[in-house]
Assembly symmetry: C2
């Protein structure tokens, strides 16, 4: 159901500005599809609809099965109205003319008119296969998958990255809203812990809070006492007093803008002394990385800063042995921090990841095959109005720590006996959403505590 | 993530019984695909996975991108194991051999082996287009959409309907669990009303409860003060003291079994006297229909019973004029109760609706084009172990009541002036899930009150 209440003149002006900028970056007409509904188990029972992010960037609102054509700053909207009998089931819905006016389109046409207006247009493949097949059909040429875009589609991808990687005020308004609701959700999760016996109950409190604010989840939540499973999507474990709970949960606004927050807290409300030691190392990395963010800084250097602080901390507590810089050079930190320090954030939680590394990696740069660097999703100099996550972590992943190659390779730098005294830590991550400003950085999710005392207080005293 | 904790010997024996019964109903081998994950806005960010219901019926658990081949009571499972490096992100997941043992498969093969074993097999098309295209490819013949199944696929559809429309103990165990959690969700919604200001907040309380029990929603929730919009999926209205809130929300177990409950309650906690009058009419229809359910009864007669009780009630309060039986014969009740009294319930909330009317309509029967009957989804004699919903309602749908054809057609039987005194009722529906037993019926959702006093109490005193 399209809700037009969020749109107004500033909204229309921002969308116009976006397509004017696009016109400066690309000469070809651009056609973007929103995608269509997908049946869940039968046709009338649909999966939640998510419009294509590139479509959302220029159309502003999630229209189902709609297409926009952009050329020289003009927007043509293609969509059909529901049949009149649909009002029985769906009530009076805004008609295409009304939607067209609300998003400041220059013209609106029925979908059937699109076929005559596709010549020479660039596009980006959508995720929904039925619409994707229509894209090739209507453009009368094979359209490559979005992470393999070619020719004019690749030019378009590059233009979109240039536009979307620096957020305008309209985007920031949405992103701040998503951040605020996600903060609320995490507080609700902490406050629900005392009365919960399973991971699922904490997830219910967190996602229930997001739904209550009329938002959805930007990605599948991680709410787990097994934080070492990096993409854990089961929620059936019982909570035990000594467990740390890791929650990576973020809201998405109705128009598609995301937040992405992780906190780790003790089920009992009190960190053990070993948990405190490690938590403080991760927090130090988090804080120091954020303090360094500003235009011009290389994001990869931020990643290495996190690696170094973690290595230093692990040397201090006796888990690693040696010089921290040397340890990072040999990727010893990656035994415990195997992923990147963060990524772009915007309409997608990994923003524009549908375009492969076109968004995350500066032209001419490629993913490293180094153990400690292969999962770094962002490798660019930072620019004002970029939004990134900073999310260092510490994990004891059996697939890494029990790997015989790693064990022999890092035999002399890990004190395995000392490590065994930290076996009440499976995974800790602290993640915030940070906007690069003209002179530094602003943490959009700063309202959610990171300090041990404040977190314990939220868990215990509610 | 596959959780094998729910499986045991009884589970395996029930699955075996299901495929033995299937073997008695169809001579061809049967191949069923589970379906695959679908990207939400980029490939790594997935829509929630829902395995095909027919697959779930025989495999028992939701396996991603798996296939089962059933022949003469034997089950062959085809699935690939994740690559070893997946353990970093997803932890140690059960391997195909372990899954095979857990569901009592006779053999397990990698997916690549399937191509050699498809000769002469019947199937049902899945919803996910990528898998659907593989079905035709691997069977080496066009596979029609599931609601247009032909030839041996139609035979299979008919066999599935015969099996799935009467629930065995394993199914009933799941269905009772879904019902119990849905009851909890509705109570949470009522209890959250006093402190809520928007529809979304009540939805958050209800869906949060379902998530907290490690279940998902069986369908997109309806939580609205505009109950006259039958498939309302927006949640942004403010709650006003005089409003009725209609909530149609049901849980689904991790293995895919659904519940489907509707309740309607006053935002203020107190029904007005006009709201009470109409609520009592709908409740009378609900109660009387349930009292009549037993094997051999025609479900269509239950629908007409609801229509008659609603017509009688509306005559009693002065909204309709004339003899109730005559009013039903001319579909006057359908001005206010335009949908059917219910449907089958099982793995799908409209069970087996992917097969079109093969499940809902007895062989040789077709949908009526009568205004009061066209939306009836079930027209069969009831059998023991069938699970149906009973969901009469009263709505003031502008698209119906302002329709000039209807107004002239029903000019003499509606007292429009009297009707205007009921304008604080937009939509009321009361829906429960009822199991046909050998001698009568059992309401699986009976723990949720329907009586005005009890509902007011839940809303007010929490």
């Amino acid at each position: 159901m399209v809700v037009l209440s969020t749109v107004n003149e500033r909204f229309i002006a921002s969308l116009k500005q976006r397509r004017d900028k696009l016109a400066q970056l690309i000469e070809h007409p651009v056609i973007l599809w929103s995608g269509n509904l997908i049946g869940r188990n039968f046709q009338a029972n649909k999966l939640p609809f998510r419009a294509s992010s590139h479509f959302l960037y220029f159309a502003g609102i999630p229209l189902i099965n709609a297409v926009i054509r952009l050329e020289a700053g003009k927007l043509e909207l293609f969509m059909d109205n529901p049949p009149p009998e649909a009002t029985l089931w769906h009530g009076a819905t805004p008609q295409s003319e009304e939607i067209s006016a609300a998003i400041g389109a220059d013209r609106v046409y029925p979908l059937a008119e699109l076929a005559a207006k596709t010549a020479g247009a660039a596009t980006i493949a959508v995720q929904d296969l039925s619409t994707y097949q229509q894209q090739s059909h209507l453009l009368n040429r094979p359209v490559a998958l979005s992470n393999q875009a070619e020719s004019i589609d690749l030019e378009l991808a590059q233009a979109l990255v240039q536009l979307r990687s620096r957020h305008d005020d309209l985007a920031l308004h949405e992103l701040r809203h998503a951040a605020a609701v996600s903060v609320k959700a995490h507080k609700a999760g902490m406050m629900a812990t005392k009365h919960s016996t399973t991971e699922a109950e904490i997830r219910g409190a967190m996602e229930g809070t997001i739904i209550a604010q009329n938002m959805s989840c930007a990605y599948n939540s991680i709410v787990t006492v097994q934080g070492e499973v990096l993409h854990n999507e089961s929620y059936d474990h019982q909570l035990q007093a000594g467990d740390l709970l890791l929650a990576d949960v973020g809201a998405e606004t109705p128009n598609g803008w995301a937040a992405d927050i992780t906190r780790t807290w003790p089920v009992s409300g009190k960190f053990s002394s070993s948990q405190k030691d490690i938590y403080q190392i991760v927090l130090q990395a988090h804080d120091d990385c954020i303090a360094k963010l500003r235009p011009g800084v290389e994001y990869q250097d931020i990643h290495f800063l996190a690696a170094k602080i973690i290595a230093e901390g692990l040397v201090d507590v006796g888990i690693l042995q040696g010089d921290p810089e040397d340890l990072v050079a040999m990727d010893a930190h990656a035994l415990f921090f195997p992923h990147g320090v963060g990524h772009l954030l915007g309409l997608d939680v990994h923003d524009m990841e549908d375009l492969g590394d076109v968004a995350g990696y500066e032209a001419g740069r490629e993913r490293s095959d180094r153990f400690g660097l292969g999962y770094l999703r962002l490798n660019r100099p930072l620019q004002p109005q970029m939004l990134v996550t900073i999310e260092p972590g510490f994990y004891q992943v059996p697939a890494i720590l029990n790997n015989s190659n790693f064990r022999s390779q890092y035999q002399n730098v890990v004190n395995w006996e000392r490590l065994s005294q930290f076996d009440d830590i499976r995974g800790i991550r602290i993640e915030d959403d940070v906007l690069v400003t003209d002179s530094g950085a602003e943490v959009l999710t700063a309202a959610l505590p990171t300090q041990i005392g404040e977190i314990e207080d939220l868990v215990l005293n509610h």
